[in-house]
Symmetry: C2
Amino acid sequence: MEFDLIARIRARAASRPDVELGIGDDAAIVRVPDGLRLVLATDTLNAGVHFPAGTVPADIGWKALAVNLSDLAAMAAEPAWCTLSLSLPQADAAWLDGFLDGFLDLAARHGVALVGGDTTRGPLSVCVTAHGLVAPGRALRRGGAMAGDEVWVTGTLGDAAAALALAGTGAAAAAGPQAARELRRRLDRPEPRVGAGRALAGLASACIDVSDGLLADLGHVCAAGGVGAEVALDALPASAALIALFPQRARRALQARGGDDYELCFTAPVSRRAAIADALAGAGVAATRIGAIVAGDRVRALDAAGAEWVADRAGYQHFEG
Amino acid sequence: MEFDLIARIRARAASRPDVELGIGDDAAIVRVPDGLRLVLATDTLNAGVHFPAGTVPADIGWKALAVNLSDLAAMAAEPAWCTLSLSLPQADAAWLDGFLDGFLDLAARHGVALVGGDTTRGPLSVCVTAHGLVAPGRALRRGGAMAGDEVWVTGTLGDAAAALALAGTGAAAAAGPQAARELRRRLDRPEPRVGAGRALAGLASACIDVSDGLLADLGHVCAAGGVGAEVALDALPASAALIALFPQRARRALQARGGDDYELCFTAPVSRRAAIADALAGAGVAATRIGAIVAGDRVRALDAAGAEWVADRAGYQHFEG
């Protein structure tokens, strides 16, 4: 089945001037500009694990690239090229066309060229490797947060986990179709914060994308930096749709622990507060200060009274399992 | 399950001086030397499709990297870095350790650093992206074969397909365990012809690795170059094990159409015959002249009498399906 599908992909994939050889040979050849560093990220989405059954092909395509561009964004890299390895139960041209609608739409928005890959028979699975560029020393990393730094997050939290919580319950329709659709769009069509990540180079002390849930991912930042963090629950940004559909207690769990948001969580010295606000405004992305880095090794979420919040059950697990 | 497994992989992965940031952040950062081109290949192996049930984890690990290094070899690229995306039905440390034995053994032989990737829950599937380097204009491509060029192939053909044909039939034990083991090793532990590929830069006019079967892959070379080819069946190289276990008629089908050999099939002007022999001897790889490029668009396999050979059934399909 491989060749018909590859021909279909090749016919639609855009190129870039720095692609010397794209889809159709044993491998692709690209030019990395002298003096820039190459940034590599790989993530796989599996049916029934990373997206619910019934997710439309275009949304799977978008998300498969988005989660990889989100990793590049968290490094402040400029996306350049990607490869796609697609496992399908059977050759299905209509499915592939839909998938490419979403995948190539997002690729075009970020100037990313699909330069190679393969298609194979197997349970539905999408593996993407994304390649980006960054100037030496400009990449953001997980390590680097210092006690006294502020903790920030872009956009809003909890929407994707809320959409998962609603999926298949009938609660979505009861609660209002417009708000439910907005949440579902956050799950299916995450916006990788590429512009925000690049704007934060030289300003943020550490950065990560929120894929496992805010507290878990902030925990990775703290572990990498040898620090702790305190987050104000009431400061966590929520969308209007989330506020409309979930009472405060459920909302907090979704915001603090829900995965799949693909926002950026980053830290920075207080002295850079205005510069960060300016840089993110320039990138067209909202961001909120939600807490501070402290000495220690724990991430604590505090309520308005300063008491530590503990999820009353295991919390919403990251869909990835 | 993701973090324990990643920690296990990280603890064992070797690095290289040009890796600025390896496993453990949102993405990896590497330095591409000024003036070299980056070569990218991605291939996925799925359980039950690309390797038989019961294949030991170390062999799966070896092969997952080997098929990607084989793609780099066919471009005359020097392998440098790779990423690994591993889908597993459950977190299984013993399985992962075995897998890494094979994967990292082959990586070490070619100086390849595993710099990133992910582990996810799902049906067993291994997606590898391999990155190599090549000087501008030195990469081998599928296109470029000219009428009058000779057609060559490295090593021997048909062993991997023979092992598949024997698998589970009981014929292997009956035929002689040593010869059957040798064939099976060709299926499970293909040797990517990295040194041979690099030695052929500047000498071969076109090159491809034999993954779908000699006639199919030579067909890709002909299609890319707008030429045809004639191959002498009696010239196709066979291993002693294949000769011992298969009569001529079955052997021919395996050699001409069997996939998964991962030898290099390449073309070159007659005038370079001696230079190619020298270059491949330097790389320690045997090669055989098996035919010629001709005008037209067909690949014809000819018997000793000059009659065109037609497989008496569909032929051995590439295992990949």
